[in-house]
Every structure is written in structure tokens, then in C-alpha cells.
Point group: C2
Chain length 320, copies 2
């Protein structure tokens, strides 16, 4: 299954989820409805709801609750993006102007809160496992916030270690990937073994997915995002960490000082390329992809399972 086939599979299967998202976010406050449309049509990869559907499918059935938790995961994700845009002062996302840019930071904060509440309302409308879903989504909301806070704190000091980075990408990305898969499995009344297998798959896929994003920030991709944005935002990510591992302590200190001082982006970019930081990061990413695929072993063969494998392989080579 290549990228185009995956995209076709997603848009075919996610139609009901997208409709549910629209219904959930509808409001009689005009400003809200207008923004909902802008953001819902803006797209994105919809990888989280896809994980939910595929996980339910791999466990044998897709229920009305599956669609609800899938839509809730995507709404929660987009709510936190509205907040992250304020944090990063981002005017562009997915090649389009953000709510920050179209309206202002206050609107982005408040619409984010409104969406969080609506995601919760959707979860509370499920027929079974409601408390379990609520627990999982609350935990991941905390992870998302704590990950961004840690990143913010580290960006001020430029002292991110490998362990910090792993914690940040767990919180920022892998946590909600895992919850998307786990809630999908639960919605199909899966056994704890199957649920854990899909959770482990999605956790590793999430780590790999974020490392790929961080690589694309150094290499540029097809998405129209400017190269080196993370460097400008003083975020130390895997390519730089991998490059730093290749040199002695003194050179490490020098580079971190350049990074902290700011204005040396080109020099740091050249250092990362020269020390093979990108290919090292790609190696780590591929090891997570293998772990993700390996985690699926307990699941019986099925179409959804083979799509999950394709999704993991595609995540390793994607260019946007």
C-alpha cells in the first residue's frame, strides 16, 4: 500500500467520523461555526482517528462508539494545535493561515477550550467503557500540556538531553497515538492483550512519527513548512542530539552555546548535516517502526492489520 492508497483508504473510511466532528462542533455562536469550518476543511493527515478505526477493525468490529472516540481524538488533537499555535506564535499550519493569523491569539485559546469541552462531551455520549475513555483522554491531555511546557522550559535553557527529548515526544505525540489505538480496541471490546498490543504499536509509531517531523524540519518536505523552524524556536530535536553524540564534550558545549545565543541557524544546520545527524535520526526512527510492527504479532491477520503495517512503513519514508 503506497501513500496514495493509504490516503484513499483513510478518506473512504473516515467520512462518518468527519461528519461526527462537524456535528459535535456546531454552535449557535457565529464566530465558532465559521472557524470550525475553516479548521475542519483544513485537513491534516487524520492519522489519529485512522488509528482508532484500524485498531477497532483489527479487533474484529467497528461500533458507533468507535466513530465517537475517533472523532474525539481528532478534535482533542486540533484543540491542542490551536493552543500550540499561540505558544509558537505560528501564522501558518499545513500551508494555511492559522486561527491565530485569521483572528487572533485570544480566539485561538478560547476555541481550543471549547473544542476540548466538545471532545469530552462526545466521549461522554459513548454507550460502554465511558469512564475508561474519559480516563485515557484526560491523561493524554495532561501529557500534551506537560510535553509542551517541558519543551518551552528546555527551549529557554537549550539543555535538552536525549531523555528529555524522548519524554517530550512521548507527551507531544506518542501519548495521543496510543490513546487513539487503545480506545479503538476498547470500542471493539478487545481483550487486554489485544488492547496492549495496539497501544504498544501506536506508542512506537507516535515516537517515529514525531522524529520524522523533526527530520523534515531539517530537510524540508512537501508541506510548505519552512526549513529550520524548530531551530528558530530553539527546539533541540533528534537530528541535533544525534549529531552532538558524534563529537567531544567541548564541541558539544560550543554548539549548545551557539544555539542558546541564537542567530547561528545556518552554522548549526551545517553541523547537523556534516555529522550525519539526519541519517542517525532516521536509523532511530526505523528501529521504532520495527518495534511498532513487531507489537502487532498477537493480532490475527486481517485487512486492518495489514493497513497498520503499511501505515508504519509509510511513516518511515513520508516526505510531508
Amino acid at each position: 500500500m503506497d501513500a496514495a492508497a493509504l490516503k484513499a483508504y483513510a478518506s473512504q473510511h473516515l467520512e462518518g467520523v468527519c461528519r461526527l466532528m462537524e456535528e459535535t462542533l456546531s454552535s449557535d455562536v457565529a464566530l465558532l461555526n465559521a472557524t470550525n469550518q475553516t479548521v475542519l476543511k483544513g485537513g491534516g493527515k487524520r492519522i489519529r482517528p485512522l488509528l482508532t478505526l484500524l485498531s477497532a477493525g483489527a479487533c474484529g468490529k467497528r461500533t458507533p462508539d468507535t466513530d465517537k472516540v475517533a472523532a474525539a481524538a481528532e478534535i482533542l488533537h486540533n484543540a491542542t494545535l490551536l493552543h500550540d499555535d499561540v505558544v509558537d506564535g505560528a501564522a501558518i499550519r499545513r500551508g494555511k493561515p492559522t486561527v491565530m493569523a485569521l483572528l487572533n491569539a485570544p480566539a485561538s485559546v478560547l476555541i481550543g477550550d471549547h473544542w476540548l469541552a466538545r471532545a469530552m462531551r462526545l466521549i461522554l455520549s459513548t454507550a460502554s467503557h465511558t469512564l475508561e475513555y474519559t480516563r485515557l483522554f484526560s491523561q493524554t491531555l495532561d501529557d500534551l500540556a506537560q510535553g509542551e511546557i517541558l519543551q518551552l522550559q528546555k527551549s529557554e535553557r537549550c539543555d535538552t538531553t536525549f531523555a528529555d527529548y524522548l519524554r517530550i515526544i512521548h507527551c507531544k505525540t506518542a501519548s495521543l497515538f496510543e490513546v487513539s489505538a487503545r480506545t479503538g480496541a476498547l470500542s471493539a471490546d478487545a481483550s487486554p492483550e489485544m488492547t496492549d498490543a495496539l497501544g504498544a504499536y501506536a506508542h512506537h509509531l507516535g515516537l517515529a512519527f514525531q522524529i520524522k517531523d523533526d527530520i523534515l524540519d531539517y530537510k524540508g518536505g512537501d508541506i510548505g513548512k519552512p526549513v529550520g523552524q524548530d531551530l528558530n524556536e530553539r527546539k533541540v530535536t533528534m537530528p541535533l542530539l544525534a549529531a552532538l553524540e558524534m563529537v567531544g564534550e567541548e564541541r558539544q558545549r560550543e554548539i549548545r552555546e551557539l544555539f542558546a545565543a541564537g542567530g547561528h541557524e545556518e552554522e548549526i544546520l551545517a553541523f547537523v548535516l556534516d555529522k550525519g545527524g539526519i541519517s542517525k535520526a532516521q536509523e532511530v526512527l526505523e528501529s521504532y517502526i520495527e518495534k511498532a510492527i513487531g507489537s502487532l504479532a498477537p493480532l490475527p491477520e486481517s485487512e486492518p492489520k495489514s493497513v497498520l503495517v503499511s501505515l508504519a512503513r509509510y511513516s518511515s519514508i513520508r516526505t510531508q
Copy 2:
């Protein structure tokens, strides 16, 4: 019971709730812990958790769940204040610098999200009625966000009507007051009649409370908040709406145009005072106070009930 006696009652009974708030918000991320301390010690009136405890008490018992929902209400309230400070660009709250001012807007957004998640976690740790609490808190989070969004939208056009204003203060204040009382009653396994009575009390108290805040914005109080802040933020509130009702359509249009143009704060303040807007607003407030007290009729006499009556009377005359 006067203000000092109410304050003493609150600090005596809220000790356990404050401890629970601290425990709930503790984190191994240094930045978070430091901010938690700043905000927890900052105080505020703690009126929402007090409503929870008094509502439980008026229904005959205070359980461990009472303290949990009381702490969750206060954490949720403070989380949304962190977001409101970003929306309003507020550097001062309760006479002290905000997280916005001490750190920055991104920290205020993210710490708010973290607190929302922790409030939810606390609610999920209750022994009974957990789903009902979760529903009530999710609904009020949506109200809080929608109220601020409506206020933001109206502040751009300066066309707030009396109905808009009532909806805004319901969402901004009365909704969480009502939820604080309802969850308190539920935690004491109260009957639907008792729960509704306390909900109606707190709803009316919340409306009165917000109108008092809006009056104090015109009059100034003892809290160190500058007079006319709402006017500067282009918020049309009860004193101005009441003054506008005293004049003809043409004069109404003139005043709204001055308001929309900005820079005429002193003229508008003089108009409100001249037309008796403040005393009219106080009359409306007092009618809500009477409705609040009347709502308590189904409850048997008890110390908590009489404190609820005192709290309502105090809300009518408070100067901060």
C-alpha cells in the same frame, strides 16, 4: 454573619480542599510546581469550593467526594482564569502579577491546559456519581469558553444586548457556580429536589456575583483593580446597559458609537453615573439575590443553609 466571619468560616472549612488542590497539581516539571505555588497562594475568594461544601452540608453530610469536587471546581476556575488572562492581556489579577506577566502567554495557556486535565483526573477519582460530575464539569467548561468567545465577538462590534449580557454572565460565572453547588449536593447523595434547589440558588448567586463585579468595575473597590477596565476592554456590562435603557434611541446610538470608537471612557463613565446605571444594576443584582435565597426554601434549616443565606447577602454589599 459579616464578611470577616464568612472569611473565617471559609478558611476553617476549606483547609482540606486547599491541601487536595496542592496534591492534585504537584508535578515533577519544575516550572509547573513553581507556578502552582504562586497561584495557589494568590488566593481569591474560593467561593466555588465553599458553595460545594455548603451545598453538601445543607444536604446533611460532607464526604471525601465533596472535597474532591470542591477542589476540582476551584482548579477548573483557576485554569480558565489563566486562559482569560491571555485573552485580556491581563498583567494584574487580585492585585498580584499574573502568570502572563511573571512568565509569558504560552506558559499561561499550557499551565491552564495542564490544570484542566488535573481537575478532570480529580473528578475521575471520585467513588460515586463520577460520570454525572464529569458531564457537569464538561458542560461548564464549554459554557466558560463560549461565554468568553461571545464576549470577545461582542466587544468587537459593541452591540451587546441585555439578552447577550445575560447569556455571557450565565456562561462566565453562573454556570460554574451552579455546577459547584450541584456536585456538592450529589456528593451528599441529595434528592433531585434538593440538588435542583441548590443549583437554582447558585445560578442566581452567580448572576448577582458577576453583576457586582461589573458594578465594582465602574465604582472601584478595595481589590486594587483599576476602575474602568471593562470599558477599556470594550465590554458592555449591566451599568451601561441599564443607563442606555434610560435614554432614547438616538442617544443610545451616540453612546454606542463613542464606545466603539474608543478613547471616550470618561464620557461614558459620566453618562452611566448621570443616568443612574449603577443603582439600576444594583437593583437587578438584589432581585437575583432574593431569588437565590428564595430557592433555598425546600432545604431544612441548618448551619450550612444559614451560611448560604449570609453569603448571598454579603454578595450584594461586598466592596471587593
